[in-house]
Symmetry: C2
Subunit: 791 residues, 2 copies
């Protein structure tokens, strides 16, 4: 058959068929019970995915589950983790909550894993409490500078500013015996913490809420670095495992943190360390004299256990019609900490709707993509991106040779930015509405009827909250969205807010995927009252000035926050992560407040994060559009020349901020300048060749050859020997940057370490080596883009 480019009619059809109501129902089912990695419910969801992807009407070509035997960490059921204040005679004066408050009836039960720090070692350290801010090295140095003796203390830290496990690692360096980690209302709730200001009355975190999480430094199964965790695979001896916290750690809620922190003695904490617990934060060590807790210490009893468990990935594939050996991967993790409605099930709900629509067309025979599409549901992500990493270790070669791009949709919708607490009248308005306009539904229960909704004053705030102007209802609003809304059990709290359910699109990715994300976001209408595209709405919230394009939306860079990490860092595959997020001018929340807590439930999403699921639908449409473009476009929509801007920006930052320092050590950036120039020229030349091919009638091999150059560019930036101390990180542009200069991470980090050393030191040799590594990579990248028959 003759080569076919992307069919825009099919694209529109697909986007049009993605239903918000089905996403909502997916989410209800996925998040109906806690599905911690390898739990019975997690395994049940494996079967659910297989069933969906094998459905005769809407299934894929093939679906399989595969297991890895991986090392996980769980709290002991017999011995719960306990944080206590004990007096000198051993009496327990205070015992912190072992579980979150069962506010909605979903925070209790055997399936709700108590809050804990996964991979923190067991132990029962006891000592004077100190407050260590975020637990960075600088924070501990500040404590020492304040004359505080840290040996044998228990450090109370707050989330943010350093990785979870890093807080314990840093603490241990200063002799701290144990670490507590809490979530400060200043960081997550815009300072609010009263019951009527928090869930279920707003999206904010209740005081008993505790963020769980992995405290493992690396990603992948801890026992099998670089090998897939098959039953028979070599496993490290536990004594040889690195990356676990060296001392016990335990997370707590701000309810308990307030009790501890607001009773601390010692100097006042620096201004930047002050939070929103309603007291002057002191540093300790120990509690106030003449108080309830005088002379008392904190005892942290951690009984976490390591267990080998079988964790499953589920993979589904739509075989490509023309180039089945070119894969477009779309993935998200399946495992949660508790109900996981936002994380990860908002992503899984979208994934399932997208695969349903594509599967239906596939089964009808009306569509098959040019390239293969692989859907993945990764296991045990919350413990350290385990499922995806093991998969990349198992199929390293074929993935690296054949994968066009990886699309990650984890938390698909982050939530709203709430400006102030709802008043009593707000609740009554909604209840009143339900009373007057309800109708029964066997599917959704009691819901308001919107059949004759007018612009009356009683309904205006509700409609306003949904981002629908009254004028839209009668005449212009999307009827599909409106009819879906009619099928909802939706509890809306009418608040006087200037922000709407989810403000804007957020994307992270490598430069070559920028253009396809822009194309997609220009074709999807933004949820909310305006007629803006997602792109136009995005540019208003996050933008940058590009020397090539002018003002454009700003793409974030990829760290290791979700399953894209092994794809970009280990395999060098063009990757992206997309979501819808809140307006950061309306809230300073570090992340949606119920992240990794027992309050991340369906009701939380349904009431506060995305009433009506229009943002979920928008994410599905955008992700689907990107997926289709990557799988069906004749020429891969990977704009490799967008790397020119990144390279130039990194180069300029190095010249500006490191140039003089390097010159003092006789290190020239000249070769890097030349390499970037070569890349720019090669990329521009490739763009011209691509345009010429697109204008003509190229044969399939000509297209394949050029597409291979586009696909494989990312691999040229890999060097498995660049960062021998960094597990899995091989990408010379995106490895973790610890140095402050926004340039190539190897160079930045090496300069940061060398800046206080003598000329001729090993550290300055490493600067030169890292510079050469980058030069070779950029020159190799240019060589990959040049005409293939050039020497």
């Amino acid at each position: 058959s003759a080569p076919q480019d992307l069919d825009l009619e099919i694209l529109k059809t697909i986007m049009g068929q993605l239903e918000a109501s089905r996403i909502r129902e997916n989410l209800r089912e996925l998040s109906s019970e806690p599905h911690l990695a390898t739990s019975l419910r997690d395994e049940a969801l494996v079967q659910l995915l297989l069933q969906r992807w094998r459905d005769p009407v809407s299934g894929l070509d093939v679906a399989e589950a595969s297991e890895y035997e991986v090392l996980l960490s769980f709290p002991s059921q017999e011995q719960p983790n306990i944080v206590e204040v004990v007096d000198p005679t051993g009496n327990v004066l205070h015992s912190c909550l072992q579980n979150e408050e069962n506010i909605t009836g979903e925070q209790a039960g055997p399936d709700v894993v108590p809050p804990y720090a996964a991979y923190a070692p067991p132990g029962t350290p006891q000592g004077l409490l100190v407050y260590a801010n975020r637990g960075t090295e600088e924070d501990f140095k500040e404590l020492q500078a304040q004359g505080i003796r840290l040996e044998g203390t228990i450090a109370l830290t707050r989330y943010g500013g350093a990785g979870r496990g890093a807080k314990a690692v840093n603490a241990a360096k200063y002799g701290v015996a144990g670490v507590l980690v809490y979530t400060d209302p200043a960081d997550i709730n815009d300072g609010q913490s009263l019951p009527n200001e928090t869930f279920p009355n707003s999206w904010r975190l209740p005081p008993s809420g505790v963020e769980r999480g992995s405290y493992f430094e690396y990603f992948g199964d801890p026992l099998t670095p670089y090998l897939p965790a098959h039953h028979s695979s070599f496993r490290l001896d536990l004594v040889n495992v690195s990356g676990f916290p060296p001392i016990p750690a335990q997370p707590i809620g701000f309810q308990d943190a307030k009790y501890l922190l607001c009773n601390l003695d010692g100097p006042s904490a620096p201004a930047a360390w002050q939070g929103a617990l309603g007291c002057d934060y002191k540093l300790g060590p120990g509690f106030l004299p003449n108080g309830n807790l005088t002379d008392s210490q904190v005892r942290v009893s951690v009984h976490n256990q390591l267990e080998l468990r079988n964790s499953s990935n589920v993979l589904g594939m739509i075989r490509g019609a023309v180039e089945p050996d070119r894969y477009v991967l779309y993935g998200n993790h399946r495992d949660s900490w508790v109900h996981g409605a936002v994380d990860p099930s908002s992503g899984t709900a979208v994934l399932l709707e997208l695969s349903r629509v594509l599967g239906t067309l596939l089964k009808k025979g009306t569509w098959r993509p040019r390239r293969s599409i692989v859907f993945a549901s990764w296991g045990a992500e919350e413990f350290g991106l385990i499922g995806s990493t093991e998969f990349t270790e198992e199929f390293f070669s074929k993935l690296q040779e054949r994968t066009v791009a990886y699309i990650n949709v984890d938390i698909s919708v982050f939530g709203i930015g709430v400006v102030r607490s709802p008043g009593p009248s707000d609740l009554s308005i909604y209840d009143n509405w339900i009373k007057h306009f309800n109708r029964s539904s066997s599917v959704y229960g009691l819901i308001p009827s919107l059949g004759s909704l007018g612009a009356g004053s009683d309904y205006a705030p509700f409609i306003h909250f949904l981002g629908i102007s009254s004028m839209d209802i009668a005449y212009t609003y999307d009827r599909e969205f409106f009819s879906k809304l009619q099928e909802r059990t939706v509890a809306y709290i009418n608040v006087d807010i200037s922000v709407f359910a989810n403000a804007t699109f957020r994307a992270q990715g490598t430069p070559p995927v920028q253009s396809v994300i822009f194309s997609a976001t220009k074709e999807v209408r933004s949820p909310g009252p305006s007629d803006l595209s997602i792109y136009d709405n995005w540019i208003k919230h996050f933008n940058r000035s590009s020397s090539v394009y002018g003002l454009i939306p700003s793409l974030g860079s990829l760290g290791a926050g979700s399953d894209y990490a092994p794809f970009i860092h280990f395999l060098g595959i063009s990757s992206m992560d997309i979501a819808y997020t809140y307006d950061r001018s309306k809230t300073s929340a570090r992340i949606y407040p119920t992240y990794h807590t027992a309050f991340d439930t369906f009701d939380y999403v349904d009431k506060f994060v995305d009433p009506g699921f229009s943002s979920h639908q928008a994410v599905a449409r955008t992700a689907g559009n990107v997926l289709l473009r990557l799988s069906d476009s004749f020429f891969l929509p990977l704009n490799v020349s967008d790397y020119s801007e990144t390279l130039r920006s990194f180069l300029q930052a190095a010249q500006r901020d490191l140039g003089d320092l390097l010159k003092q050590h006789s290190i020239s950036l000249g070769p890097l300048v030349t390499a970037v120039e070569k890349f720019e020229a090669a990329a521009a030349s490739l763009d011209q060749r691509k345009s010429a091919l697109q204008a003509g009638s190229p044969d399939p091999l000509q297209v394949r050859m050029l597409n291979d150059q586009l696909m494989l560019l990312e691999r040229t930036f890999l060097n498995p020997r660049a960062f021998p101390e960094e597990r899995y990180y091989s990408h010379v542009l995106w490895a973790p940057r610890t140095g402050s200069v926004a340039t190539f991470p190897g160079l930045a980090n090496a300069c940061s370490k060398a800046s206080n050393t003598d000329p001729g030191s090993e550290a300055w040799a490493e600067v030169q080596r890292q510079l050469s590594i980058v030069v070779v990579a950029v020159e190799g990248a240019a060589a990959t883009l040049r005409p293939v028959a050039d020497l």
Copy 2:
């Protein structure tokens, strides 16, 4: 244009146009002067290659030279290296030769680099002499067992059994202060060493001959591991460079070795250590009492200097007509130690003839290959495969993604196996022949005329020597070969031998290239009297019994003896090395006797190695056939299922020789059995799909997809983390094997190290890790071969 398979008529045309006489003239020019890496003559040869490859009639599409700034090692011109025997008062009793005897007028002059051990450090150690056989660790242990104190000694070792540098490394571990390395006539001359038994009277090495060589442990430029040696590249500090010998070393000829060794005192050497110097080898330490050298010591004065030099590669390309982004590489090094007629110029001479024939067809417009052909002339190979390694470091990504195979033709013809020395009558017969039947030629000088050669008795031995029976001349012999012979200045020494000029083809390679080499060798007539193909002749000399094919020629495995090393070990590219070699039933020579000496000259080749250049022509025809098949076949002639036999053989060796030992440590080979079975099934299935495609009318993308699976299989066996202590070695099947069991090298080496350790030791953990690494690689290889749209 419609896809075209290999044109067999063009193939025959190409093979028919490869002329022995032009190869001979290439060789005469290439070897007319010493061309040590980076010497003026080496640079002149760079220009020669560029000129040839840019020739308007027979040139290629493009030719370029590229320089690397690399660390080489040379003897000092001001202070020559000297090996002396000094008496207790400091008198020099004996001084070894500083140069080889100028027998033919070509062994002297400023361009002849004196014998030395490249990269051996300068120093002037002096001590009692000991004889250490081949300088292996076992040899030094034997000396200790014999009660010989090694501290401060000078060790005399012979070439063979251990790498050059390894002799010095091993010696240093036992306190030896300096190492001498000589070539024993037993190892290279079948025991012959008299002047009338050696060159120029036979192919054997004269007593003054010294083998030069690199004593660097690794390959690639010593200062830039993993980085191309550009001017601005990061270079290691010399203190941080590893791989150089830790003590001074110097090679000497057996003339000097005899003087030293036959005067040694001490116990007799073991029987296996005895050589052919005509005396009872003793171990030392020190010389015989009451002799010329009583109480004397040996002083080794080494003044080698390290220098950064610019060394060039020359690359030429014929652009592919259909898939220019698939490269077939054909390479050889250009640099020699002295004249280098055999090594490397016999290979370069063939390369130039092949590129001339292909270039001529290209310029005429009668042919252009499907895939791109790249010819390479590597610089500084003799110092450690520097040119090729730097090239692979520079273009790592695009080579790994695009290279179909690498063909290496270094020493293309190794020489004859001479059974006994010529007598005086032999010489006179040839001279007599020249006198009676000469004619002038402006090209070749005085040569015999063969116009009316009959079967007379005076000529029978000559014809016999050439492998031509008298009956052939008149009636059946290849007229082309005969007419070429008429154009020779050939000095033939008639000897009563049962072996002919070059007995057989020799090939080393990875299993996928076996089939294309077999196909090619079946189509080329063997040089010599028979009507056998090269294949049929080869199977008589080197064969093995294949479970799949029955009796077949035996392919050697690839070490690091020439420029294929970085291609197979570092990049995982299917590689081969081909040559014509002598009959090992007629000689036990370790290598052709003048290897790396000043006697490796044009006359040596012309008179003894390949009179008439029929073996060179055969190599050119075979290499050309292989090159054409790889560049022009519709389906790549890489038979991946031939890896099944290798894997099965490695598995069986492990089961047989390691099974019980592993079982004792609860290590099961079960997963490896399963992995090999998966590979076998996947490979068989792929062969079936290939046959089905070949039977039908596949579209270009279907062929490309399958060819990608064939091309990229080799890469699946790469793991850059498998052997962290081995520079560049990443191939889990072909890394150096130090263990004795003929199985996977990682497993073999790990078991060898673990066998004397306790259960549960780190060494046994490494065995398990290496086993898992192999299992993952074989499973990944199977996954690469399975249908691309399988999960």
